[in-house]
């Protein structure tokens, strides 16, 4: 079953007017993008800056309206949600941000960062403060941190630990699908390996569905089942991962592959 189904969505952003009388020019950030993610699978999204990767993730999260097309989540149009529906959608689809340094409030402790979602969704969850704390401890253990990290502030943690907190925060509401927006590009190679393995373990354990955005093709190849190549808001090519890397069809995909550093001869 397809958990997420995007049917040719478009998104326009207004640009500055060039004349008093003419129509306002628009920038087409997404132009007829379609994709499907089967439950429990990982879809990789590749594209250069400005290709619409971030707009796509924002639309999926419901943070931005679409100007055409539909986003179906479990066969439900997310644009049709009322306030309660949006809140439910938010709990099922969570995001891990690229920069673990910028995506956390420096004045909040790790406990409060991870528990914030549970506080916001208090009405459905009905957890007491103690139960929330128990869940925070459990989450931190799942991502390889300990109880002792709970009362620290984000500046006291290393980059890898922060990204783990980011993942714990995303898992707090037991989502079905995670959007991973370049989750390792701010991390060192050895830490990246730890985080990638952790993401894989979590997927195995909870049957999570991933949308993995990255411009590191080696990481995409390692993590994804299917890959979609975006360029200037349009889908250039979508294919199963190995097929895309072995036999890229589109010229643009081929140029991407050619630009990729050759690491196969590394020991």
């Amino acid at each position: 079953m397809n958990l997420v189904e995007v049917q040719s969505i478009s998104r326009l952003y207004p640009l500055a007017k060039t004349s008093w009388f003419g129509e306002r020019p628009m920038h087409q950030a997404l132009n007829g993008v379609s994709l499907t993610i089967p439950q429990g699978k990982t879809l990789g999204v590749v594209g250069e800056s400005g290709s619409g990767k971030s707009t796509l993730t924002r639309c999926l999260l419901g943070l931005e309206p679409v100007d055409g097309g539909r986003i179906l989540y479990r066969d439900q149009d997310i644009a049709a949600h009322d306030t309660a529906g949006r809140l439910r959608h938010a709990a099922r689809l969570q995001i891990v941000f690229q920069d673990p340094y910028a995506s956390m409030n420096p004045r909040m402790t790790v406990h409060n960062i991870v528990a914030e979602g549970m506080v916001i969704h208090q009405r459905e969850l009905g957890l007491t403060a103690q139960e929330r704390t128990q869940r925070v401890v459990q989450l931190l253990e799942q991502v390889g941190l300990g109880r002792d990290h709970m009362h620290r502030y984000s500046h006291e943690l290393s980059g890898g630990q922060r990204q783990r907190v980011g993942i714990a925060r995303a898992l707090a509401l037991k989502p079905e699908c995670l959007i991973l927006d370049e989750p390792t590009s701010a991390l060192d190679v050895s830490v990246q390996a730890q985080v990638l393995n952790l993401l894989h373990e979590l997927q195995q354990e909870f049957g999570l569905t991933y949308l993995f955005v990255s411009h590191d093709l080696a990481v995409i190849r390692y993590m994804c089942d299917d890959v979609m190549v975006l360029r200037a808001g349009t889908v250039v090519e979508t294919a199963p991962c190995e097929q895309l890397f072995e036999k890229p069809q589109h010229e643009y995909t081929q140029s991407l592959m050619a630009a990729m550093p050759e690491t196969a001869w590394f020991a």
């Binding site: 250069e48 800056s49 290393s158 980059g159 060192d188 190679v189 050895s190 830490v191 990246q192 390996a193 730890q194 990638l196 393995n197 894989h200 373990e201 195995q204 411009h215 590191d216 093709l217 080696a218 990481v219 190849r221 390692y222 993590m223 890397f245 140029s255 991407l256 050619a258 630009a259 990729m260 550093p261 050759e262 690491t263 196969a264 001869w265 590394f266 020991a267």
Partner: protein, 350 residues
């Protein structure tokens, strides 16, 4: 401390010997560089690879002496550039080296360009200053007037833009940095760094802020430009893929020490030091089963109170008592492959 006797016998373009640097902080003095050894000859392209906080950028900055002292303090060692110890030069002599003999490119092209000056003007400024020291670069003699120099500098600025592959250079020179894309801005910085026809170019993470395709383009441009002029390059990066793309040699740093160095092909295909091995094993490569990427246990050591001896020992599977006695020296056949590990026998590579 080692002597400087080898200056006459075999003078390298850059020879960093046993460089120790400590950085003062509230928590104490961090021993950031712990005996860095590096030797670069004319025309070589070196990659200086390592993870965050290993001291690779500080090493690069030290060469053009851009590290503030204090908080930093050089404890020992020397940086011989063309046989002269950079650390002992007067500031006025240093200014003659920077930009002229040692060019620099930094990571973020946006913050390194002045947003309110035209791009051509910014390159011309550099060319004008260099023209003071070396008028021949502008095609002038030492007696040339300032106005002549200015004119020649502007012309050279446009020429440089053309050389780094910016179409319609004369026109684009009148644009501001925000009218350039990220890749083009990095080209502008490369142009600026190469104006003085430097003998050594230090590029600190030149492509980290760029997309994959641009990354390849910029790296290719860089290697073309330097190979035509014989400029040596020290490219500081955490990306081993980028090293493999253009570097002839590579030095891998860990916690303030070069643990392995040599020919890129040799080091990356036959890594000997446990850290280099772990680093390469942690790279996702085609054909690796998902979830089986090998990781490095533990964390980078605290440099204020570093572990005794080899700083990698606490995370190393092969560590023994021997490792904690002293920092292992970088041994082996110079230039092709050198390793700093007590468990790796230098004879194997001699």
């Amino acid at each position: 401390m080692s002597s400087t006797l080898d200056q006459g016998a075999e003078m390298s373009l850059l020879h960093i010997q046993n460089l120790h640097l400590s950085m003062h902080s509230f928590e104490g003095d961090a021993h950031v560089l712990n005996g860095v050894e590096l030797k670069i000859e004319k025309g070589q392209i070196w990659g200086l690879a390592g993870e965050t906080g290993c001291g690779k950028s500080i090493t690069g900055l030290s060469i053009s002496r851009l590290v503030n002292t204090p908080p930093a303090r050089y404890l020992d060692g020397q940086i011989l550039f063309n046989g002269r110890d950079v650390l002992k030069l007067k500031e006025s002599d240093m200014r003659q080296l920077r930009g002229r003999e040692i060019g620099m490119i930094f990571q973020d092209p946006t913050t390194n360009l002045n947003p309110v000056l035209r791009v051509g003007e910014q390159i011309a400024d550099v060319a004008y200053e260099i023209g003071r020291i070396a008028p021949e670069i502008l095609g002038l003699t030492a007696t040339a007037r300032a106005s002549q120099r200015k004119k020649a500098a502007q012309k050279l600025g446009v020429d440089m833009l053309e050389r780094v592959g910016i179409a319609n250079a004369a026109q684009r020179a009148r644009d501001y940095p925000h009218q350039f894309s990220g890749g083009m801005r990095q080209r502008v910085l490369i142009a600026m760094a190469l104006v003085g026809q430097p003998k050594l170019l230090i590029a600190d993470e030149p492509t980290t802020a760029l997309d994959v395709t641009l990354q390849a383009q910029v790296l290719k441009l860089l290697s073309e430009l330097v190979s035509s002029s014989g400029t040596a390059v020290l490219m500081i990066t955490h990306n081993l893929g980028a090293v493999a793309q253009i570097c002839s040699h590579v030095a891998v740093m860990y916690a303030g020490h070069v643990v392995e160095s040599g020919l890129t092909q040799e080091v990356l295909s036959h890594p000997q030091h446990p850290y280099t091995r772990a680093l390469i094993a942690a790279l996702p490569k085609p054909g690796i089963q998902r979830g089986t990427l090998s990781t490095l246990p533990g964390r980078v050591p605290n440099l204020i109170d570093p572990p005794p001896g080899c700083r990698f020992a606490p995370r190393c599977a092969q560590a023994s008592h021997e490792c904690t006695l002293a920092v292992p020296a970088l041994v082996g056949k110079s230039d092709t492959h050198r390793i700093a590990c007590v468990h790796v026998q230098p004879e194997v590579f001699a």
